[in-house]
Each structure stands twice: as C-alpha cells, then as structure tokens.
C-alpha cells in the first residue's frame, strides 16, 4: 500500500466522516442518525488502524462502535420520536 493510496483513503474517509457527522445533526430520522454515528465510529476505528494503533482500533470497534450504538438504540426505543 503506497502512501498515496493511504492518503487517498484517508481523505475519502475523512470527507465521508465529516459529511456523515453533519448528517447526524440534520437527518430527520433518529434511527438513521444513530446508525450513521456508528458508521463514523467504525471509520474512526479504521483510521486508528491506519495510524498504527491496533489496540485502539479493536477497542473503538467493539466499544465505541458496537456497544455505544446498542446503547443509543436502546435509548431510542425508550424515548421514540425524532428530532
């Protein structure tokens, strides 16, 4: 994997993450927002991997992405509604 390729990946990922983050704020449906947040976390975990941080990547994937998303989903189920 060349550095150029890595840069391209990172720039693409970064752009997507920021777009997704803005989408989290503005998308109507709360469920989508939660899932997009999970996606951002997952992308971050990829970025951690790219920055030579496998421990962090594993933790971010299992805790930051999966667990947090589950908690948010639970919360949404209890509150309901969008906003």
């Amino acid at each position: 994997m060349t550095e150029t390729l890595m840069t391209v990946i990172v720039v693409t990922f970064g752009g997507m993450m920021i777009t997704a983050a803005i989408a989290v704020l503005f998308v109507r449906d709360l469920l989508s927002a939660i899932i997009i947040t999970g996606f951002v976390s997952l992308s971050a975990s990829v970025m951690f991997l790219l920055m030579d941080a496998p421990d962090v990547a594993i933790t971010e994937a299992s805790i930051g992405a999966v667990l947090a998303t589950m908690i948010f989903l639970w919360g949404r189920g209890k509150i309901g509604g969008d906003g």
């Binding site: 941080a53 496998p54 421990d55 962090v56 990547a57 594993i58 933790t59 299992s62 805790i63 999966v66 667990l67 589950m70 639970w74 189920g77 209890k78």
Partner: protein
C-alpha cells in the same frame, strides 16, 4: 435556525482562533518526551511486548484503575437508576434466528474475548475490549431466551471480586516494592510468551472479568421491568 447559525458561528470562530496552533504541531520524525522512554525501556521494565499494554497496565496503572472505577461507577449508577425507575420491556419470545444465533455464537465469541484478555501483553487487545466481547455473549444469551437470566447476586459478586483483586494487587505492589500497582516485582518473564509481563495478565483478567460483569449488569438493567435485580 438562528440558533443553528449562531452555534455554527461560535464553533467556526473557535476553530479559526485555535487554528493558530497548527504551525506548532508539525509532524515529528522522532519520538519525543516520555514516548521515547516508554519505547526504549518498556520491554525491559515490564516484560510486555505490547507496549500499549505496558503503558496502560504497568506504567500508568493508576489511570487504568481510574478507568475501571469510571466504568464501575457508570454501571452501578445505570443499574441503580434503572432499578429505582424500571422502564424495561417484557422480553418477548425470541425469533428463531436469534435463538439459533444465541445458541451457536456464544462459544466462539467467548473464546475470542478470553483471547483478547489473556494475550493483552503480547498482541492487541486487553481487558476492556475483551470484557466487552464477553459481555456481548451474555447479551446474546439474554436475547436468546424469553426471560431475564437469573444472575441474582452472581454478577455483583464477580464484579466485587474482580475489583477487589485489582485493588489488592495494587496493595501487593506497595507491600513488596513500595509502589502502588507495581506489577513487575515478581520478575517479568520472557517477553512474547504467555507467562510474561509480571502481573499484567492477572490484572488483565481482573479487568476483563470486571468489565464483562459490569456490562452484563447494565444489559440486564436495560431489560429490567421492575422485578428484583
């Protein structure tokens, strides 16, 4: 709308003002400060070939103890609040897919989690992700059955024991070499083997058990409908 714009302006101004720091944050070629020392001495000091684990569990074990306490407090608080004000839903009969998954997957996932924990000083992983993975097994089992599993007292007991053993390991360090949470006083073994890194594996197990029992407790509380927990 006005609020959204105002917020945007505040945030953008903040970003613009803080951006002046960029020239001072240039990329480095060499490790600096304590990072260099960790890398150069880490293996000799701790016997852990995973330097991140060496930092987490050995050098800065106090942070990790704090981290354990954070999780402990958060889970205690969540369980406490949800016990006082139960808002769970009655567990419905699980679908067959879920029930099947709940039967098949636990064993491999459990193995995965245990590996994370036991090998934290050799390879990526550690007590926190390992514990979370194990807790997800619990969640899976719970989802696969129609009733809330009756772990009355058992989860807190594991939690207590795990926490106590972490704490007592800390005091052991103080009593032997006068340094709280020191884990290298028994010798550090050969880096790269499973029995190495001093007490790191033991501490990882304690952390893993604690994290697993805490998250399991939280999952259970999420499903609590007002019965006794």
């Amino acid at each position: 709308m006005i609020r959204t714009l105002t917020g945007l302006i505040i945030v953008l101004v903040l970003g613009a003002v803080a951006a002046a720091v960029i020239p001072e944050m240039q990329m480095r070629e060499e490790l600096q400060g304590v990072g260099y020392s960790y890398v150069s001495r880490g293996m000799d000091d701790t016997g852990s070939s995973n330097l991140v684990t060496a930092v987490i569990v050995a050098y800065r074990g106090l942070d990790t103890l704090g981290e354990v306490v954070v999780l402990f407090c958060a889970s205690t608080a969540v369980v406490l609040i949800l016990t006082l004000y139960p808002i769970g839903i009655k567990a419905s009969e699980p679908s067959r897919v879920v029930a099947f998954t709940a039967k098949v997957l636990p064993a491999p996932i459990l193995l995965f989690g245990v590996y994370f924990i036991a090998h934290s000083h050799i390879s990526p992983g550690g007590g926190f992700p390992g514990g979370t993975v194990i807790a997800s097994v619990f969640l899976l089992v719970m989802l696969g059955s129609s009733s809330v599993p009756d772990g009355r007292g058992r989860l807190p007991a594991i939690e207590s024991l795990a926490g106590l053993s972490f704490g007592l390991l800390g005091f052991w360090g103080i009593m032997t070499v006068g340094q709280f949470l020191n884990n290298a006083f028994l010798g550090t073994g050969t880096p790269g083997t499973i029995v190495s890194g001093g007490l790191i594996p033991l501490i990882s197990i304690a952390i893993g058990a604690k994290v697993a029992s805490e998250f399991s407790g939280v999952f259970k509380a999420f499903r609590n409908t007002g019965g006794t927990v």
